[in-house]
Symmetry: C3
Subunit: 382 residues, 3 copies
Amino acid sequence: MSAASLLFSCSMHVGVFHPKLAAKSSPWNLKPKTSFGHSGISEKSKLSRKGDEIMWRAGALHVESAPSSVGQKFQFDDVIEAQQFDRETLDAIFEVARSMESIESNSSGSQMLKGYLMATLFYEPSTRTRLSFESAMKRLGGDVLTTENAREFSSAAKGETLEDTIRTVEGYSDIIVMRHFESGAAKRAAATASIPVINAGDGPGQHPTQALLDVYTIEREIGKLDGIRVGLVGDLANGRTVRSLAYLLAKYQNVKIYFVSPNVVKMKDDIKEYLTSKGVEWEESADLIEVASKCDVVYQTRIQKERFGENIDLYEEARGKYIVNKDVLRVMQKHAVVMHPLPRLDEITVDVDSDPRAAYFRQAKNGLYIRMALLKVLLLGW
Amino acid sequence: MSAASLLFSCSMHVGVFHPKLAAKSSPWNLKPKTSFGHSGISEKSKLSRKGDEIMWRAGALHVESAPSSVGQKFQFDDVIEAQQFDRETLDAIFEVARSMESIESNSSGSQMLKGYLMATLFYEPSTRTRLSFESAMKRLGGDVLTTENAREFSSAAKGETLEDTIRTVEGYSDIIVMRHFESGAAKRAAATASIPVINAGDGPGQHPTQALLDVYTIEREIGKLDGIRVGLVGDLANGRTVRSLAYLLAKYQNVKIYFVSPNVVKMKDDIKEYLTSKGVEWEESADLIEVASKCDVVYQTRIQKERFGENIDLYEEARGKYIVNKDVLRVMQKHAVVMHPLPRLDEITVDVDSDPRAAYFRQAKNGLYIRMALLKVLLLGW
Amino acid sequence: MSAASLLFSCSMHVGVFHPKLAAKSSPWNLKPKTSFGHSGISEKSKLSRKGDEIMWRAGALHVESAPSSVGQKFQFDDVIEAQQFDRETLDAIFEVARSMESIESNSSGSQMLKGYLMATLFYEPSTRTRLSFESAMKRLGGDVLTTENAREFSSAAKGETLEDTIRTVEGYSDIIVMRHFESGAAKRAAATASIPVINAGDGPGQHPTQALLDVYTIEREIGKLDGIRVGLVGDLANGRTVRSLAYLLAKYQNVKIYFVSPNVVKMKDDIKEYLTSKGVEWEESADLIEVASKCDVVYQTRIQKERFGENIDLYEEARGKYIVNKDVLRVMQKHAVVMHPLPRLDEITVDVDSDPRAAYFRQAKNGLYIRMALLKVLLLGW
């Protein structure tokens, strides 16, 4: 990094402990994002109110987590979209997530993030995602500032920009988890914030932590990611989840993907072309039973009624077409699993739940470990 | 218990520390509810993520709380309805509640439930009850995941079943406190959950913690439960509270209950017959003054306008009929008290508040102690 | 203080540890507010559940904060309106606020308020203010009971009085922060509560913590309060903020205030007369550039559309009249600053944000320090 930016970072750093000076020398909206390089700590952590303290903590953590050499490579300041992660970074995140499983089962509870505050800025309600993030923060000893409905925030009511809202909230917290109704909102927030921002879903756009927990679940359940066969079933046209999952799977070797969906909600060409360009084998099929018999993972999704508007009959037809039930289980391999992003209606019958291969509730639980891992890495470094 | 189920419990137990193995060997929806018998810890606590740790803690706690022999007797995994408790269990809960009074007054705050997370899943708003439970959890050093309005939860919006929601939330927390608009919802949630569930009111159904705090208040204020005389006043037809209270009072000796209510909202026959069958003396009266002069407890309730629909005049007539005011205080005995589940409108005049016998705000405070006690017993055992 | 009230206070004090006795000897609604005099701890703290513990804590704190002699002078039990504070008390609060800046930047986080619970009772949503208070409490190690919308509280729904709600909530918490839609509501709550109450805005009435953070910001940014020149710009007729600020500035020497506002929203006579009576020089001007060139502080405010009703054109005209932009910055002195209570629309152009003299986001951050200071003083004393 250039001497100039190094100098600048230092002035910022000092500034943290002398708000006024910092303010004079470096207004909030300026923010270097280059890495210090000599450690795994994110730039934002460095510039956060934790200052030197972080250095020391992260130092301590290197021992118990990934080697500091790792840290240098997998530098990220925010979690905005699934595509931002390369395979090595995903592996590193999953390694931390696995360590979180034992931390979470420890009754005394971790104090790793003691003294840190997470703000959950939700512009549309998503109790499932919000609780998962808040549980993650609290399981690590951190605390939370919650907004179940940030639309009521002055901004929405009085026309404040998202940027101004972020500048205010970053003064009260150490990391922001944001759910927004506009695609791209997370990117805007991250560009403004001097603290880390995690995208908890921005409209039709991205929901990166869901994509990460899906891949993590496959790796935990099947034991590998290279060479797996995945059947994506249901609403492949509108499902944000399956699209992101397809993107991430393309980072692994010899993956084969089967698309099984009603004609009205087929997987779109952009994804198919992307997979082909990445050398990922894919195939469309109308036979769920045959696909299920060949796959390691049957990933079922909900047909989203809201997408069909008037055409209720079209919806009903699409909805009933591919159901995961006992017949599907019967042909699935012993080691294979059924996944679903939840919530489910009847696209997976309830009698499937008791089968050990029903992985969807474990999948939901894995969301906790992935979020714990991301909070840890963003706030303390690797 | 059968060797099979013992074996199973163990696999579950081990499973806790190896989620995948556990998942394969024991899917979430299977769950033995028989007691281990050799300690006061609830089955669910044993199977919770706290594992062995619990054993140790509970062991330690036996010293400071009830003897372990007690633990064996009063085994319960969830709090669903007032009737589930026998007299001995009530006494044991009240003993713990009393110990909570001193814990709560200790400025440094207890760390008894440090590392535990309570999820408050409220499908209809009830700030009073929610704050009381959340205060109880935090006064014991635990933390909380809140949903002020769980109807917005994916489930309501997208048609997820309560069971699926519970299976998700139990992955993020250690105990669930649920308020629901449907009678029986708490029982369904408890049947699904592998962690303890407390019913914070399910529609017209039960509100057991209110019933417990009422009986606890009588015992604290009057010093006994056997041989007391209680006047139930106001809306006895629709009041969930007075019905549950009558049920619980039937567990004590030589109790006499007076029903004082407008004709349109008289106590229903099912309760009267139940009391008779239990040998509880009861009497209907239209003279509040005469009843008040004889009772240890005058339990006033609000006439619920919402029950009268169009008939506003009927409501107004019923509402004005029995008011607890200075005249009523004048005839009450020195040791007697006035109770009310709150909120009150004008069925108790404000000038009564300053009388030492006005126990309704102390009654609300007792709700905190009862909820602290239940959280402690369900999570740590006796 | 009279022997009688001292005696009474003691009975209360004892009562805290024996609820029933306390209840008999001193019902909740009675409450002496005179000071003990021999220490800086507020009466309410003394009567709070923390009891003796407080004495000790406060004793310890005298060392690190203001001398105990200070404590005696600046006695206050609640924060209801800006006018309640004299200059000396403001100085003392600002001194504590400054110490909070370093506490907040300490990564391990303070445990000063560990074991204390703050209830945020918001009858109308104000996420900005709520998050700021909750962050303040948590930065000091305390915890929070939240109600994002207390209108749903039984009270609103079923007609409970504010007084009854307060008597219930004070049983669950140690301090209440209340936002209400009715002017005077905070005063009523404080008169009822036996624990401290902070007014977080009551309708068109007061928003004292905003006024305090404004004055604190001026002192932090300019380095003095005596002899400053402040330009109040924008909606001076309806802006609760600028009116309270004018009140507080009158407590300092040789202050000069310039009013710059569209004719439809001019500063009202009551304030002008108050300033004159206090010997504060003030002047109305239509020339923002000329005023900006002379002032230490340019305090811009939002023209509140909601006040114009039908007259959109009047609003648009008023709104566009005085904008703080690069031209204004050009004439401002090096040491001067631009302030704004936020949220802002376009009355300050975005290109101003990067100028070190743009103080409005630091101003928002100062709200955190002021609220930390008030929580500390009200709960632990000076």
